[in-house]
Symmetry: C2
Subunit: 361 residues, 2 copies
């Protein structure tokens, strides 16, 4: 089997050892005579996997006991609604910082739930090429929360600092860069992330929520959408997506095995540097639209001279086993997604191709 | 590998060939060099699987073009809220028929969204041992919809007829018996089902919705909860649980391969008859609390003389490779879940054990 170099934007590539482990025990999980998918979510076999996934997340992130680790369904798109349903009571307002298409979607959905304000935006002609500075933000000191998107997959920008929101809880969509390096989660009141970029398959959403925030959240919404329901039931109120949790467990266990987030960060920085160096070394061929200090280490975005040339770039790379390089349908260009599971070797392969492509012109 | 006889109530056993197919191609889906989990949900490879799953459901059910087939997340528990959010506008009321714990939960969640009425209940001392007759129902001709649960996993009852609701749309939670036999879906305005009993792993929910009902549904709710969003985007508005859809596709393809729902029904009736015959043949040892015409062909529930004897029954069966037989924590007793994937041979093995157990006393 020849595995390709997978630069997909998400669902993304997964670590091969995590998949191989799943393959080995797919019909018979740990000698129980059935697949992990066929186990009851209330049985010992699954519960051990479930709890291991939670404790691996705690360990990798160095998460304090002040936080719940919750598993939900529906991805970030569902959290766009669930966050304000829980945290935005009538009579209050929430602040949204816009840095890309996903934060815009989060804002639009929150508008359908309650009152929101735009506390900052770096959009110019509907495009975002940088992260704002603190001085550009107009934060409401009475806001129910401030919402931000830590990494912007469409435009290839990433926050490398965190806004000071004072006493206002900071809420972050971290779908596309959770666990890309060690992060101080205590700066956030709530973090949510669809797993399908850095930590698992699609179909499972991780929520890290400060306990006091969960306790004071709205209770006038359906039980299934309350963070408190998941917190009180160890995320087993209803049947969870058991296989997705199992596979995320495999990915997290592998992450710890290779050295935890220090090693993950080392690899991710290496991959990003290789790509940006290659782009910057050929300004006549590759153009990176993002301001240097806002560049993403998860999604490296660049343009070529014409759309035709971009199509040729994507097609030629695909022939050499490198896939997933076309930019998002809404932005065009080239997007190289280099999430945690993308090997450094794949990026070395790609940058060699880029140098060759530049030479040929 | 010795596969056990899996009588789990859900997540339930899956057809071995569907799992073997997944195992074979887990690292390399159809020569693409990556797992189906690593494919973009907007790429050709996944889209073909996605569309095949939809068309297999249409084909197996003989579903007319008047219906959408939608894939959502969150299970039946999320539909308990999403149904009234879409279909119950302010100023209207919805009717709920109670036949067990799940319909009670659906009612409780709907109360948090709008105005509801109990249109019938067969509860006696909080237990349900039968399905109501038409004459027992008090239906509101102006109701926004009537909600029912076609099969009740906790108490082992199943509707073998359908209520006449006149012009009022009939909505059914079919999580635990969808595809157990051919059913006339045109009798329903909307059907929802978590996949993890009869048609796939947990983490994926199937919704069959009449198009006119989706068109007239509420538009003042978050986009992510609107049936219309899923209908307009072929259930690809946001990232779906791709592996769960893939595995459901494998199960549905296998279902067609063995002869479709005619063969599935033949096997399911055979399994149910074997069990009920064995119970009825030993009234001194096994007691089936459910009225005969309400007996479920998915969950066969019975009691023994004492809880101690029930524990012994479960423990001895487990020693012989038969698992998942303990009743729900809220009801006790024995529950044999014989969903589509449970082989007739497993039930033959169990009934032989039951006869032997009865003889030994």
């Amino acid at each position: 089997m020849a595995r390709v170099h997978n630069f997909n934007a998400g669902p993304a590539g997964l670590p091969l050892p995590a998949l191989e482990r799943a393959q080995r025990e797919l019909l018979d999980f740990e000698g129980t005579g059935m697949s992990i998918m066929e186990h009851s979510h209330r049985g010992k076999a699954f519960e051990a996997v479930h709890n291991e996934a939670i404790s691996l997340l705690r360990q990798l992130l160095g998460l304090s006991d002040d936080y719940h680790v919750l598993f939900m369904q529906g991805g970030a798109a569902m959290q766009f609604a669930v966050v304000p349903m829980n945290l935005l009571p009538p009579g209050r307002s929430a602040d949204y910082i816009l840095t890309g298409g996903w934060s815009e979607k989060a804002l639009e959905e929150a508008k359908r739930v309650g009152t929101v304000r735009v506390a900052g935006s770096t959009a110019v002609d509907k495009r975002y090429t940088r992260i704002p500075h603190q001085g550009e933000l107009s934060l409401d000191p009475n806001a129910a929360y401030v919402h931000m998107t830590t990494n912007n997959t469409l435009f290839g920008t990433q926050w490398h600092w965190l806004p000071d929101t004072g006493d206002v809880p900071l809420v972050a969509d971290m779908s596309s860069d959770i666990l890309w390096r060690k992060m101080d989660i205590s700066r956030f009141a709530l973090v949510y992330a669809g797993a399908q970029k850095n930590i698992g398959p699609s179909g499972i959403t991780v929520v890290l929520a400060r306990k006091d925030l969960v306790d004071s959240a709205r209770k006038d919404i359906p039980v299934i959408f309350r963070y408190a329901t998941y917190a009180a039931n160890n995320s087993l109120y209803n049947t969870p997506p058991t296989f997705a949790i199992y596979l995320m467990r495999n990915v997290l266990a592998y992450t710890l095995e290779i050295g935890g987030l220090e090693e993950v960060e080392r690899r991710n920085r290496k991959k990003g540097e290789l790509l940006y160096e290659t782009i910057d070394a050929h300004p006549d061929v590759f153009r990176a639209p993002v301001e240097k200090e806002s560049r993403s280490f998860m999604n490296v975005v660049f343009r070529l001279a014409s759309e035709e040339m971009e199509k040729r770039f994507v097609a030629e790379a695909a022939k050499e086993g490198m896939v997933g390089l076309a930019g998002h349908r809404s932005t065009g260009g080239i997007r190289v997604s280099i999430y945690n599971a993308v090997p450094v070797a794949s990026v070395e392969r790609l940058t060699a191709f880029m140098r060759d492509f530049a030479k040929r012109g």
